[in-house]
Symmetry: C2
């Protein structure tokens, strides 16, 4: 196990009806709130009205920033920071999924920074201070509700990059599973794929003997694999939504990554796909992950891939190569069974920019030097190429 510095201080209020505590959570920081949200689903399902009523009854001042994009944009960050200054905001209330929360983090940091907020993606240490953030989560996916990370997009340069810092970790997050009952099928499967991917990225690391982290990750992966089909079939199944929601937070709050070193693999590759084509992040990850595993399968990785399959995908082969191949097949078939479009063509991506995106993926990350299996441009390109056609298996 590697040395680490872990802190996940977010106060989680979990369960149906926890929204009633929202005014108290916000008022610890002040009375003037910037309310951020996305495309309006919270207006359709009534959550927006509930929040507004609660804050009005608590005599709070609410400034709104709605319409935050699924891949939140630099311009929105700037606009949010401007609003915070103009209205002397005390606390940001993000009601939504990862994009709304990520955008709010960037706004929180931009408030205290005179330069271009895009700088945060170039120098992480610039984001040392932020306005306090409270979230009401509406999608089980990114884990942003319990960590300090954010991803923002620069549509001019076609870049989608990470930023963050401990100061940006939400002070409190309300996780009410019923707020995810109306999440559409496609977003539900994308969210689960995102959770799984966070766990898989940390699981496959060059660090050995991090059993706490790996066994916890296996437990969370089993949970996601068990409850995703249930949530897809019965969108209002409380326990399915509850387990997916809590798994999403724990999958990326440092619990499974702290003490393990190296860079992630599929996320840097996916970030180029959604930077170029604005596709749904989780879907991109689902498409990439089985091809990535197939590409890196070798004598050094076979045991770990096999262990992964035995622990979470009911793989029973003792022989490691057979077990590893079956693991990849089962993971692919799991996504197919959920209904994920499993080729790039199905999400509108063709060959045109594959090479360019591969170059960008390597440039924007430490894939080539610090990944579990280091990936050069040609490797990334080969993985992208493999995503053009369905995977086939012989057994």
């Amino acid at each position: 196990m590697e040395n680490f510095d872990f802190q996940a201080p977010t106060n989680i209020l979990f369960g149906e009806g926890q929204l009633q505590h929202l005014p108290r959570l916000l008022q610890e920081h002040g009375q003037r709130v910037l309310l951020t949200y996305g495309g309006g689903s919270i207006k359709r399902n009534g959550l927006y009205d509930e929040v507004q009523t609660l804050l009005k009854n608590a005599n709070m001042t609410v400034i709104e920033l709605g319409g935050i994009d699924p891949n939140p944009r630099l311009e929105t960050v700037k606009e949010g920071a401007r609003l915070c200054h103009e209205h002397d905001i005390d606390v940001i209330l993000a009601v939504g999924g990862g994009s709304t929360i990520d955008c709010s983090k960037a706004i929180a940091a931009a408030y205290y920074y005179d330069g271009d907020p895009w700088d945060f993606t170039q120098k992480r240490e610039l984001a040392t201070k932020g306005l306090p953030i409270v979230t009401v989560l509406t999608l089980a996916a990114t884990g942003s509700e319990m960590n300090g990370g954010a991803v923002i997009s620069n549509m001019e340069t076609k870049e989608k990059l990470g930023m963050g810092g401990r100061a940006l970790i939400p002070k409190a997050s309300i996780l009410d599973p019923t707020n995810t009952f109306t999440v559409p099928r496609y977003q539900t499967m994308a969210g689960s794929a995102d959770i799984l991917s966070h766990l898989i990225e940390n699981y496959f690391s060059v660090t050995e003997h991090a059993a706490v982290q790996d066994h916890v990750a296996e437990g969370l992966m089993k949970t996601v694999l068990h409850y995703t089909p249930i949530a897809l079939e019965q969108p209002e199944h409380y326990d399915a939504r509850a387990n997916l929601m809590w798994a999403s937070s724990l999958a990326l709050n440092g619990l499974t990554g702290s003490g393990k070193k190296g860079s992630w693999s599929c996320h840097p590759m996916e970030h180029e796909l959604s930077a170029y084509y604005d596709i749904t992040h989780g879907i991109g990850l689902a498409i990439l992950t089985p091809r990535w595993l197939a590409h890196i399968l070798n004598a050094d990785t076979v045991e770990k891939i096999a262990a992964f399959g035995r622990a979470v995908l009911d793989v029973e082969w003792e022989e490691p190569w057979a077990a590893a191949r079956q693991t990849i097949q089962r993971l692919y078939e799991t996504f197919v069974a959920w209904g994920v479009p499993m080729t790039l063509g199905e999400v509108g991506i063709d060959r045109e920019y594959l090479e360019e995106m591969a170059e960008q993926a390597v440039k924007h990350s430490t894939l080539a030097t610090h990944a579990y299996v280091p990936l050069e441009v040609k490797d990334v390109q080969a993985i992208y190429e493999a995503c053009l056609t369905p995977m086939t298996f012989t057994e």
Copy 2:
């Protein structure tokens, strides 16, 4: 899953050499430190000198409270609070295991309370405020380094009771596995039994469908079962000590208990044993747990006990009763293999107070009303009785 309110804000600095950050962690709260520790093992292994040198070089004022007992006593709490007032202490530095940290929490709360600190065990809500606490952990066991709970003993009344509050959660804890290299064999196995017991107590709950919590608990239990024999054979095995140490913190920071309701079973029963006989807490838990499982095995519990064994003890029986019986046997044999004295006689306890302790256990807890399987005085007494003789199994 039940509703819950989770917060585990402790900053964990994990790994060899992290002690160097101690002055910075303390100075966030002030320059005047109450240093608490136990029986002197930190003087023998050099940790005491290291800490003193670091604090001296940072020009900090250090007042000492050494000799804290394995079951920390009310009088020590009072003495600690007195020292904090007399010397205008800013922060408490606990260097030790759970007893030292628990005692420090009680001192931290007593500092702000005019009455008898024993009141905290009668009314939890009295401990709303505390001096900040930083810990340097030397034993993987109680998890006190990452939660707000404490257990203190009143030797006059032969009572050993819990107290706590969110204000008492340590601000930071340094977890350097090398600080546990000198933990003796007996304390190592007792610590592991304590970690396992925390996980088992939360695992067996009347709440169903808390898969996140249960699968995370299984992962931590597997870790403890794998690494304990290694640590017993090779006390300086870094990865074994590291995994046990991190498992100890995660086993009782709310992660596996939040969202599950009901009271614990073995801890209330064990607390009477160590209140009456001052035995090692983890050893008492190891003795009790298999007998408790055997006592509560019935048509309602058989599936859960079987699932526990299949997940963490390599039980392969499909048939639930066979699987559950094998689970209990394997758990017992695991403790025997570690070298735990598995009868009450071996730790100096005879029949004399069994009935009285059973009455106290029920009186001091909600065993009879809120346990996984409610336990009356006669049940507790029967479990104690069963602990007088070795368990036998027929297969």
